[in-house]
Structures are given as C-alpha cells and as structure tokens.
Symmetry: D2
Subunit: 434 residues, 4 copies
Amino acid sequence: MTTGFFGDITPIQYEGPDSTNELAYRHYNPEEVVLGKTLKEHLRFAVAYWHSLVWPGGDPFGGQTFERPWYGDTLDHARRKADVAFEMFSLLGAPYFCFHDADIRPEGTDFAENTSNLNAIVDYFGPKMEETGTKLLWGTANLFSHRRYMSGAATNPDPEVFAFAAATVKTCIDATHRLGGENYVLWGGREGYETLLNTDIGREDAQAGRFLNMVVDYKHKIGFRGTILIEPKPQEPTKHQYDYDVATVYGFLKRHGLENEVKLNIEQGHAILAGHSFEHELHLARALGILGSIDMNRNDYQSGWDTDQFPNNVPEMALAYYEILKNGGLGTGGTNFDSKLRRQSIDPQDLLIGHIGGMDCCARGLKAAAAMLEDGALETPLKARYAGWDDGIGTEIQAGMDLESLAAKVEGGINPQPVSGRQEALENIVNRYV
Amino acid sequence: MTTGFFGDITPIQYEGPDSTNELAYRHYNPEEVVLGKTLKEHLRFAVAYWHSLVWPGGDPFGGQTFERPWYGDTLDHARRKADVAFEMFSLLGAPYFCFHDADIRPEGTDFAENTSNLNAIVDYFGPKMEETGTKLLWGTANLFSHRRYMSGAATNPDPEVFAFAAATVKTCIDATHRLGGENYVLWGGREGYETLLNTDIGREDAQAGRFLNMVVDYKHKIGFRGTILIEPKPQEPTKHQYDYDVATVYGFLKRHGLENEVKLNIEQGHAILAGHSFEHELHLARALGILGSIDMNRNDYQSGWDTDQFPNNVPEMALAYYEILKNGGLGTGGTNFDSKLRRQSIDPQDLLIGHIGGMDCCARGLKAAAAMLEDGALETPLKARYAGWDDGIGTEIQAGMDLESLAAKVEGGINPQPVSGRQEALENIVNRYV
Amino acid sequence: MTTGFFGDITPIQYEGPDSTNELAYRHYNPEEVVLGKTLKEHLRFAVAYWHSLVWPGGDPFGGQTFERPWYGDTLDHARRKADVAFEMFSLLGAPYFCFHDADIRPEGTDFAENTSNLNAIVDYFGPKMEETGTKLLWGTANLFSHRRYMSGAATNPDPEVFAFAAATVKTCIDATHRLGGENYVLWGGREGYETLLNTDIGREDAQAGRFLNMVVDYKHKIGFRGTILIEPKPQEPTKHQYDYDVATVYGFLKRHGLENEVKLNIEQGHAILAGHSFEHELHLARALGILGSIDMNRNDYQSGWDTDQFPNNVPEMALAYYEILKNGGLGTGGTNFDSKLRRQSIDPQDLLIGHIGGMDCCARGLKAAAAMLEDGALETPLKARYAGWDDGIGTEIQAGMDLESLAAKVEGGINPQPVSGRQEALENIVNRYV
Amino acid sequence: MTTGFFGDITPIQYEGPDSTNELAYRHYNPEEVVLGKTLKEHLRFAVAYWHSLVWPGGDPFGGQTFERPWYGDTLDHARRKADVAFEMFSLLGAPYFCFHDADIRPEGTDFAENTSNLNAIVDYFGPKMEETGTKLLWGTANLFSHRRYMSGAATNPDPEVFAFAAATVKTCIDATHRLGGENYVLWGGREGYETLLNTDIGREDAQAGRFLNMVVDYKHKIGFRGTILIEPKPQEPTKHQYDYDVATVYGFLKRHGLENEVKLNIEQGHAILAGHSFEHELHLARALGILGSIDMNRNDYQSGWDTDQFPNNVPEMALAYYEILKNGGLGTGGTNFDSKLRRQSIDPQDLLIGHIGGMDCCARGLKAAAAMLEDGALETPLKARYAGWDDGIGTEIQAGMDLESLAAKVEGGINPQPVSGRQEALENIVNRYV
C-alpha cells in the first residue's frame, strides 16, 4: 500500500548506461562487484531525512515552495512523513537513512515532551525498517535550530543550555542505539561564535571537550558499538565554527584525548567552504586515521554559503572515492546524501531524480577510482616519486640524524636537482578513467 | 656618514596628532608609557629586510619598478644594501629587523658558497647593529625561492633536498644566534602541494615533524634561548600549504610532541587568506598558549593573494593588540612589518612613509586596546556572560557529571531561555575607543 | 501614548563624543552644519521596515529568535507593527523610513486581497507620518518571497507571473506616490537564474527591459516626481542575479534606453559580494551619472552571503561619504539602514542601539569626508596627477589624433618615466581624518 | 631539421580513446566531422607563445624553474625561441598561435628599437608559418610588464604613456596584419587602479574609450579584416581592472559607440575570478552579440589568482562549447590555450603533454555539446519552458501593454502557479553526454 505521493511509480531499476529513462539507474547496479565487493557494500548510500522530507524550500529571501501533505506540527503529521520517507527509501533501493531528532518528531514545549515525541516516532520506525529492510546509518541531535541554542549548545555561556543539549544527545544516542544505528554524528551548528567581542574561545573549547568526553563515556556505558563522528564545517550558521575542517578537529580531538575514539563525517560542501577540495579533506583524514563517513553533495564553488546540491561532477567524485578506497572503505560509515533539491524543483518526482543522478555519479566515480587503483595508474608513479626515502640518506634521516651530521653530509657535496612533478601527465591519466 | 639614498632626511620624530609632516610620527611616541610599559617595549617594531630592501616591485604580470643602487649579485652589492638598511632602521627608530639568508647574501652555486656568503654579511652586520643599536628580532632561511625547493624543503620527495634544507637552517640558526636574535622563524613556503595526484600527505607530515624536531634539538644543543616560531599560511605559493592556520599548526605540533617548544608567528594577511580575522588567530593562539610574534600588514579582503600592504585600519588593529595585551604581550616576539610598498610607490621616501603610517596605526591600535582593557569595557560584560559556569550546575558539569545524571537534572525542569548577545552594543563600545 | 515595547525610553539625544550613555548619539548631531548643510540634510537617514520590524531572527539553520507582540498575519497585527515602527522612528529621530508592500500588510490569497490590505495600511500610515514628521524615502514591491516568484518576476518564463509582478508594482508605486515617497526602488531578488541549463538570458533580458520601461512610463503618467532606483546585487538568493553591480546595471540601462531615467541604490554589502569596495561602486556610479541612494550596512568580508550588519568601521565609511559629497550629495536619495540585528540581539533596546551606532558612524564618516574635501587633502594631489591631460599632448589626443600621428610623435622621442603613485602617503593622509 | 629540444619525437597522432600513449591524442581527431565541420575547423586551436615559450616558471615566491636554451635578451635568442615554437606547433598539429610583441622580440631601450626588433622577428616568422602551415590567430601588445606602464597604458595619468602605448599598438596591428592574423586582442593588464585615492575613473574611462576608437579607426584605415577583441578580467595585476567581465565591457563598448566594432575574447580563468562560470560569460556574450574568441584554461576555484592551468574537467568544457555551438561557432576566433605548465613540470615533454590533454578535453567537450544539441536534449525543454511568451498575454506584453492595462488583467483573475524548474533532471541529462 503506497501513500500515493510519488504517483504510479515502481522501484527504480538499473537499466545500464544507454537508458534514457530518467527514473532508472544508468550506472548504479547495486549487485555489481568491484574490487571484491558489491557497489551496494562499497557505497552504503543513505537518504537524509531533513533535506528530502523536512525542508520546505525556503531560503533567506523567500519561504516555502514545496507543498507536502505531511507538513505540520503533530505526531500524525510526523507519521505521514515517515510513511512517505520509507516509501522513498524503498523506491530508491537506498539501504540506509539518517535523521536528526527534530526531523522526525514534532517540537515539544520542553525536554520531556521532546523525548516522548521522539520515542513515539522511534516506535513507529521500527516496523518500517523491518518491513523495508532500510537501516539507520546514523542519528543525530539538532542542537542548532531552536532559539535556546542561538549562542551555542555545548559551548553556550549558560550551563543550563549545555545541560539541555547533553540530555538531548542522550535521548538521541538511545534512539540510535535502539534502531541499530551504525554511527552517531555531532555537527556543531552553533558551536562557534558570531563576534569575538563576547566570546572566550578557551572556555568554550573546554566545554566542548567536556561534552564530547561525556558522549564517548555514555556510548561505552550503554554498549553502543557504532562510531562517534564529528562533522566539520567552517562557518554558516555562525561566523566562525569551531569544527572548522579536518585539521582543526584533529587538533581538538588530540587536545582532549579523543583521537582514537572519534572519527569524522566529511562533507563535500563543507570542505569547499573551508577552502579545501573534498579529496584533500578525505586524504588528510585518512592520513590521520580519522576518516569515518561522508556527506555527499556539491557546493557551488562560487556561492559562499552551503548550497547542498546533488553531486554531479564525476571527475571530482572519482578522486573522492579514490581516497575512500585507499582508506579501505568507510567502515561503519557510508555515503549520505546531504543534498537538497533546488527550491524550484517542486515536483515529487524531482526527489527521486535528484537521488538517482547522485547515486549514478557516485557509482561512476567509484568505478573509475577502482580502475585507477587496480591499474596502479597513480600509485606506481607515487611510490617512485618518494622512493628516495626508502633507503640511503632517506632512512638515515628517519633513523635519527641531527642537524649537524646532516650539514656535514651536505658540505660533502649534496646539491640536489629538481625533478618534474608531471602534474599534467597525471591529470591526463585520470582523464582516461572518467 | 649617510648613503645619500634617502636624501637630506633626519631621523623621524614624534610630533603629535596635529602634525601634517608626512615624515613625522603622529601617534608613535616610543617613550610614552601605557599600562606600565613604553610603546617601544610593547610594540617591539621590526623592519623586514626582504620587502624593503630586496623586492624589486615585480608581480606576476610585470617586472621591476624600483631602481635601487644595491640591486646586484655580489657581496659588494649586499654590503651597500646593508648600509642603506641600517640607515633606514635608524631613521625610523625601529628597534629590530628581520631577515632571510637569501635577503642579505648573494646566492651561491652550492651550500658551501651560500654559507660563506652568509657569514661574510653576518660579520658586516655585527658592527652596524652595535653602532645603530638595532637588534635582530628573528632570522630565517629562505627554503622556497630556489628551484631546488620547488617541490618542498622538509616535505620534498627527495631526501637530499631535505638534507640541503636542514643544513641551511643550521647555518641560519647559527647566524641568528651569533647576532643575538630573539627568535627563529620557519615559514613553509613550499611545504604543501600543487596536486594531490603526486602527493602523500602522511609521508610529508612525518618528514616535517622530523625536521622540526631536529631544529628544536639543535636549538637546545647550542644554547639558543630564542623562541622557535612557525608562521602559518593557507596557500600561495602552493595550492595547499600544510601550516594552514593556527588550529592546523597546533594539531601538527601536538602530533609531533612540540606544543611546548614552538610558538607561532601570526600574520594578518595570512589569517585573512585562511578565512579568519586576525584577531581570531591571535585569540586562538593565546587560548592554546602558542602566541609568539606577529607579522603586521594588511591583506586586501577582496584579493585572493598575499597583498602584504602596510596596515592602515585602526579599528581592526585595536582588536589585534587587545588580544596581545590579554596575552601579556608578545614575550620575545614583536611587531614585524611584513609589509611592502605598492609597486607604484617608487620613491625612496615612500619606504619611510609606509613604515611611519604603519607604526602610527599600531600605536593608535595599542593605545585604544589598552584603554579598553583598563576600563574593563569588554572584560566586564564578558565575565558576566559566562558567570553561570563559575558555580552551581556549571561547576558540577566541570567536576564530572555524566550524561545520565545531567539528563535527570534536565528532566527535573531545566528549560533555559536565551539572553541577548548584545553584539551591536559591544561594537558601539569599541567605537568609543577607536 | 507609547506602545510600551521599548520600555521607559525618551527620544535619543546627542550628548557628544564623551558620553558613555548607550542610548545617546555621540557624533550624530542632526543640526550640526557641515559644508553648508546640516547633518540631517546630508545623511537623510531612513529605517528599513523589513529588518527591524519583520525579520524574526531566522537563518538557514534556525528559526525565530525574536519575540515581538506584532508577529502574526492579520491587519491588526500589521497595525500594531506600525505603531511600534513609528514609535521607533521617533525615538531615533530618523527622518525617513522605507518599506516593501509585504513588510507592512498581511499576505492575501490573491492580487485583490493584497491590494486591499496594502491600501488599508497606507491609510493607517498617513496620520502617523503626519504626527511624527517621518517621511517615506522609498517604497518597493517584494517580488521575491512568495513562491509564485521562485523563477523570477519580470524575468519569469511564465508571462502571467510577469503580469502579476507588474500589477503589484503598480500598486506599490501608487502607495509610494500617495505617501509622498521621494523614490521608488526595484531590487530584482529573483531576476537571475539558478541554472543556465533552463535559462535563456537574452529572452529574460528583453523581459526585464520591457518591465522597467513600463515602470518609467507609469511614473511619468501619474506625475510621480521621485527617482526610480535599481539596487544591484550579484547573487543570493539566485546563483546569478542580473543586476550584478553598478557596471552591469549601467549596461542594462543603456541597452534599454533608460540611463537618463533610472538611478542606482547602492548597498555596501552587495558591493562586497560583487568583489568591489563600496567606494568603488559609489565612485563608478558617480562617474556614470547614476548614483541615486545608498543602503548602508556592512557585509562581513569573509562570509559569502548577505550579512547586513550595522556599519561600524568609520575609516571605510569616510571613503563612502567622500564619494557622496563629490557627487553633490544624494539628491532625492538618502542613507537607508538596510541593516539587521544579529539574531542573538533579542532585546528591544538592541534595535535602538544598532541604529544609534550606525548613525554615529555615518556622522563620523561624513564629517571626516567633509574635512578631507575642504582641505583638498586628496583633491589637490589628484588634480596634479592628471595635469598632463589638461594641455600639450594630452589635449591633442583628446582633440582627435590618430594612431599614426601619435606613433610619429613617439618616434620623435617620447620615452616616459614612471612617477610614484604615493599610495601609502595618501593612506596616511586619510588616517589624519578618521 | 629539428632543434632537438623535444628529443626524438614525431608529430602527435590520434590513436583513439583506448590509447595509453601519453604522446597521442585520444579524442582529438582533427578530421573527424561533427555537425558538418571537422574538429579542426570547430576548435581552431592556438598555442600561446607567452606561457609555453617565455614564462620561466617563476611565481611571487620563487624564481625560474624551467631551463630553456633560448632564454636571453638578444635577437639570436628570439630566433632560437621561434625555432622551437614552430617545431612545437608542428608536433602538436596546432593550426594557430598567438603572441604579444614582448614574447617574440627582445626588449629595446626605446620605441624605435622595440619596433625594429619586432619587425626582425616578424620577418623570421613569415617563412616558418609558410613552411609549417601554422597561422596567426591573433597578435597583441604587452602594455603591462614594462615599468612605464605601472600606472596604466591608455588609462595612465601621463598622456605620454598613452602615446607610447598607442604607438606600440600600431606596430603590433601592423605586424598582425602582415602575418595574416585573424584577430587583434587588447587585454588591459594595467587598465585599472591600485587605489581609488589617486584615481579618477571618469577621466580614465574617457581615455580608454578614446584609445579604443583610435584602434578601430586604424584597423579600418589599413584594411585589416580581423576582429578587434577585448579580453575581460576583474583583477590581478591591478586591484580593480576596468574590463571586469562581459557585462562590464559591454557597457563600456556601448558608452563609446563600439558595440558593433569590437568583440570579446573570454577566458575561463578570468570568468572564475569575476565570480561567474565560464558558460555564463559565453552565454551572456552570445546574447549580447559580442562573443568573439576564447582563452581556454582552468582556474583553480579555490585560488584567488590567475592559475592558468590546462583545462581538464570535461563536464565543464561541454557546457562551454555548447554555448559556442549555439553561437554558430567562433567566427574568426578560436580556442587559444592561455594555459601554462605547473612550475614543477620542467621537462620538455610536459609542454606537449599539457597541450595534448587540453586538446583532448576540448574535443570531448565539443563532441558532447554537439550531441546534446543534435538531440535537442536541452533545447526542447528550454523552448517549452518559455512557450508562454510566444502567444497570448506573452505577446501582448511585448507588443506594448502598460502597467495599468496589465493590472486590469490581473485583477480579472490571474493568479499564476509555479512550475518545477527540473534542475536535477537537466543535470542528469547532461551527464548522459559527458
């Protein structure tokens, strides 16, 4: 029995690259095996509840454009929303979904009502997940939309807000745990500042460290096996957000002794806003051992805010999945579409079409990355480039030479000559695969 | 005996705010006492050798615009340059200067010649420093201009380049030590990458950590008491530079066990390029205990490259010096003018005028900051804003509550209400002082 | 009789620079005479209805933070809002205000109800304007918030939307005319595109030109003496907006024969987003003869969206008012505070404090600009710099030499030498005044 | 007889998509026919003399990395450079090249020597062009590198610099004419300003308009049939450049009566720096009737300066060539590789590899664009979207309705409903072709 929202549509099928059916996959064949795993296992796609089911199409200069029968503030509306949500997951064949508490339940007037509303929907989700086979990639708490959080949640100058936020996170971890979620995410939407004139970064950093330690302790206490993930973002909504980028969050984790407990959920759009490429953030997180999961979308390079578009540039995505494959995959993480329709895309089918295009592009990117890896197309020249560090003076330096002994060697006649970096040749090689 | 380069000019004097003499200080009275120290002691001004004496006025689309009698590649040219340099320091009354090896000596054909040229000029500097009373704020090695460093110095894929760089740093620390330098700076101009396609960040990070540990060890071995400083910058010349910003360098230091050995030299322009305000970077470094020194200049907010202009916006500078005063000053650090003339400012006097304007603005900024601090103009509301953390639930949280006990408290009735952040009121307060 | 919203507050008075009363002007003395006019006459301050009375404090990641008793969708709410609005204008002593139709009236279900609601509030405004002496600087139509405009108003692919927009503009010009408005503004919030894939710029340009010609014709027909103003902005809400910046709008006006009929309303924040300084946009509009009015605010240079902060950097504002003074003032235009509180500034008094700070900064900026102008501080060197064009070869070139005759002259021995641009000296001069 | 510079290399051949030979074309088969023309005729590739033969690999933080036997300041060096240049054009099979005067001749001490040097090399080029069949796409004058132009060429405050620049342009048009060049380009590298404090935009605009009119008059006088092209760029080298983008240059041309005489040479990197996509600039120029030629390269979206990389993102290039095909091609224009090697790509073969990759990507982009056009993949939905303007109220509006009659119609019951813009569906369609 369908809700009728999507009309007369059957589940999206793989039809191959030559299909012109806009409601079919052209590249995402879930059972296709690449490097020993199916695409479904590699990509671990998740649909984001907030963008697809909750966001009304507003922007800072205009209100709602979407008209959805489930918009409203009651538990009944929330259940109708869930009905369409799981129908959509099934139509797409998406194995996972993700949510904030505020996406799935009506807002209450206090903590108790929030909790009770949340639990009511968690109860409603259980059978639906069972029936459709959809699993929870991660849950999270929305600690940024309500006005109580306007000056931060963990980093609020008012400890009562910290307390409210902490209690809320507890209920969300509980919900995630009950639903078999594979990760729990924290995005510090209001953990940052609007003006330094009223801000003490040192104090707020200590608060944030305390908060995250409490979360990790609680996870262990209740036996939640999922990964705790932090999602970096540099700015927006606040002028400056503390979890700026991968390098910044690494320093934060290290400072608070959490670098082995917490990993990162990295978003393409947030990487762009921080001045980095997506592959940079993935590569760096991989090198630091904290790559956990990805939020797949695309930010307009020329818009200075979070555009959260569906990804569509395959060459870029190939480089992203290349890093993920080199990481040995995403572990408990996955590919969450933190992507929203443009607000003019008001038809129900647009919701499916956006995801279909995104999933196809991810599949193309992953397959290209896998082929590059299998061929050693980039690995072979990379190893050759650093080969000098694998013996001779390279190993001596690593073994502990000091400045003076090294200077003596150089005086003895070292005068190194540069070698071509061959960037264009490598770019041409990548273009053979995409 | 003067070189005649600046014509018939006597040392720049303080003439007070009403002076219209463009060759006089209007705000920088070195002996004026503020918060118990003279302006000279607070500001610790340094002139940067490279911009003022070496840079020919070129940019990516045009060559030399300045015509200086000391341009040339011999030791004689280098000595004429030094003559003018110290004359300029004296005319300005600048207590310090800073240099790279490549600024002060001719480039040799190999390491030995570089070292011998460097030592020749260090010998020439000694008496000049004595005579003029100018001291060395910091020395540094240029590990980015020569083609051997095109793919990095410490992070080069070729260990021989690492060796050459390390040996060069040794000679520069030696020179700095001999000249009584109060700090030694490392700026990783080529420590980064142009393309990820040929880069292994993990390997390069390990190399960079090894290099910096060698530098710190050597400092201790020879008894150099100055501070080792890293200068962050996000990009340019390389697409991505490893020492991106304060938070990134903190993580690097922590990863390599150096957070108590190394501090930061923070530049306004580099802060801007990283997407931060200068005061953000200073505040953060202060909170992390790694604020060491500053490179004062101004980057055009709307030009995406390092513009290194002389600073001129006093309200911005007041906020910067406010952070420095809250840090208890800069310790062994100082205010280095990493500022260059616009390439159309080709007259000798422009060199003085640029510095005079910059020093006056710094003095105005510092005095405004000191007044704000003395009045508690920002501190009083700041303390009030966080007062909740100093007792009650605030101290309980810090003392070790866990999520469950906190949730129980919230269930007991916590429902916090937001309080105005008063940003506009605080901005108006700052405008009383600038 | 007051609404009580602002509590027990009396009209804001000028108390001079030493006042520490946050509810007093320190620099804006409306009757102070500068260059032969009072500050009130120069600055022509207006309060923007939308930011101060309508915006609820939301951003893309959070909802309402302000709680105002007039929020609601009825004509009664609209009248309560008007009561507070005019109380605020009076408290501030602001001579003008500005509005969109959608700011002042409840949204109807169709054009007729919109028009009737608008007229009801216009009726309500009349006596209030009389009583308080507040005048209307400009009115405008909101053609961007309602979902019917999601793909543009004048540039919509659906001519019925063009028609609806045109009819709405007619009602707004009528309202502005009735209220004695001195200008009428058009901001093309949705005149642009989200994706080129579904856009025909040529067609949409023709539509926009047709629309503006209709507006100008109507103005003349009804005898409206105010100025028609276009407000440029480069992006946000749409990815690309057609009225990108001053130069772009000039080309549009020229293409459609309107360069003598329409002027520009230039906003600091929009200039910044277009990659220009505010003073650049003002200078260019002045040079092109189309400088009409200004929207005063401040955009964060490092946030890529419209931040609409209250202005607070006096040195920047001095350069802006310098251009305005060189333009001979703003004519029928004025200084509209298109500025909004930060969403954490939730107290009623914050509304006053934001405006007080902004008005004081404008007054400081204007006075500094006037002094620079009176002293010829910048004009004298400017004229000297271009003096070569006032006789000799300069006038010959302008009189019509061709390439060949000019080449012959150069062959005869012209080999020009560069002259210092003295940028730093000029910046120091400006710093004498701010 | 070869110069030996490229070693033992034979002309680059088309080998098809499966080739892994890095010195072969995989997609650029010059004789392949698409939409009735060969790829060679569509693409009209040109090699840029400056990047490939002149630029030494320097950047603002480092000097020369390339070592080329022809670097030097004599006519002999210039001839050796020409030998390698034409060898390279032949190896690549590039039908065209482009140059600045300063690229091909040594710098003289005055105008006469510059002219004589230029003519000597033009004499040397003639037979080489004949022999290799390489043609000149366009010539141009370098009016930005020499210090005489530091404050502008046409817009210099000194009319003698204007004269020198004008005379130089005459010699360059003469040279272009003699060599059968198909266009003549003006890029205003220094036509802009560093600081408004010493600038009068109105005066400089008048100078620039006068200059361009002289150029156009001269073209007609000597019977040069090529197109005069202006190349827009927003900033760098100057803080603000007058020829900011397509819209700005259109306004300039219109103001000076030149919109039918001059077209535009549009560069991908410059579009990016101006905040636009390349396809936006092409589409707009097409709509305004001034699309002339393109400079193909790629700017890093996250580096705020001109990176001039070889293009490598095929999906982006497909959208660019789509606009060109809709323009009916480039007329006398072509695809000039204003692209330079990364400075670490120091091997001679890198020069060929960069161009091969770029040409292959252009060919892929063009073929994808042609297929989209043939299928009506984007055109069919585009026409449908605007269909309302082709009859009914749409044609009435265009035929001259006024605001009142339109308002009457709307009162009669127009209440338009929005229609999906289908952006994601269109993006998916494009991804079928790339």
